[in-house]
Subunit: 250 residues, 2 copies
Amino acid sequence: MLDCNESDISMPAIARTTPIARDDREPTNPYRVDMDLDDEADELSHLNIPDVVIRRLPIYVRTLHSLLEKEQTSVSSEELARMIDVTAAQIRRDLSYFGKFGKQGKGYDVGYLSDTIERILKLDRTWGMVLCGMGKLGHAIANYRGFQRSSFEITGLFDSDESAVGEVVNELPIRPMRELVDTIREEHIRVGIIATPRVNAQETADMLVEGGVEAILNYAPVILRVPAHVTVREIDPVSALQSMTYYISE
Amino acid sequence: MLDCNESDISMPAIARTTPIARDDREPTNPYRVDMDLDDEADELSHLNIPDVVIRRLPIYVRTLHSLLEKEQTSVSSEELARMIDVTAAQIRRDLSYFGKFGKQGKGYDVGYLSDTIERILKLDRTWGMVLCGMGKLGHAIANYRGFQRSSFEITGLFDSDESAVGEVVNELPIRPMRELVDTIREEHIRVGIIATPRVNAQETADMLVEGGVEAILNYAPVILRVPAHVTVREIDPVSALQSMTYYISE
DNA sequence: TAGATTGTTAATCGATTAACAATC
DNA sequence: TAGATTGTTAATCGATTAACAATC
């Protein structure tokens, strides 16, 4: 399988977070055959799929799970669309990037579609994560229960303040930053969380990347510079608030 | 100034969060004159401006602040663009929705531009906020230091669990949910934060809206139904992680 | 079979960008 | 003035949607 990763030049984090296309995909290939999961696993296919689509998939999974809880086994794009407040056409279009998962006249099997999207997103395994920066925010993230039912588990806590080192938070000891890179390498960690102060975020990102992390969840209000093969998403409640006040009346 | 708010029908929260336009704006108005702040304050003008643009403004403000810290007084769209990793054209286009703030040949005055955008976003005042749901996550948000230098301040904590009521967190007592609506009304609160369990998020949103809240920061993994005049932004670290693993190699 | 709903196309809509005249 | 950079236009690019043939 040839390596057609054509641009490995440094790509800004904000661009990865914002709707972009890294490559022109051919919009409709007349020779395309009914794909199944072997083809979806193709490492190169993701270059073709808009990031906006990828970012909607977790919402589809979450919604399908809520249907499973209610023991509903079948769902149409129309019904799913109503639950999520998007158009049915968008759901069908989004899914069609990956294959054919429904049955005309019937809709989608909830369990099968949910499993399929989870496999596409590589959620069919558990991802260990390192958490960097163990101030108040870091403590809160280490204790966060939202990860429990997900495919993510924090496996290492790090802080540059030696006086914080050794403290145990949610059953894990805080370790010194200088051990970060080696730990990532040894434990094959691919996901990092940055909860450091603003000024230390970039150097922390650099270390995460050096160790081999390819996905960074960034809680620091800074735009990180990372190589093109690394994805960054921002968690930025202050920016979110600041953009909402614009719409407040009076 | 005529009321051209043509659709006041209920609009889903996800649509407000995603790039949308509620109204077709006329792309270029030949009669448009050099606007200054009086015109920007026009309550109706926001119907014309894409939400993607509004969501970028806080990043501009943050970046301008970092220049002010370095005592840089002037900046070109080119330089700002490099710092944020967008194109200079996009910055100029974004700003042009609101008026003319630069000088040809010179660039922008950092302080003036920063103040101007803050005024556009209504950040030239302090917004009181109610925080609903005082579990672990709620505690973390109540203690969050990121709000300190911002225009936001949590002024009330609420929880439906009567046994939590009375506990003081970061100098504020937790109060019972049944006091929420009246408190919002009496204190003219316009911003609410939801940190309740998933199942209680919608009913909490309903109460916030009933009280008069127009902006909701939602930490619960649920799509909220709110009237069109209410803006919702999601803080959803799990979804962010779930969409990043897609790109991880191997 | 008739009815329902998918998967896919083409049309539409919206956002970004390159280019440049205006102007400091 | 000459050089620099804005504000704005038109062109391009990308994402969404409506519509419908395919098909369960």
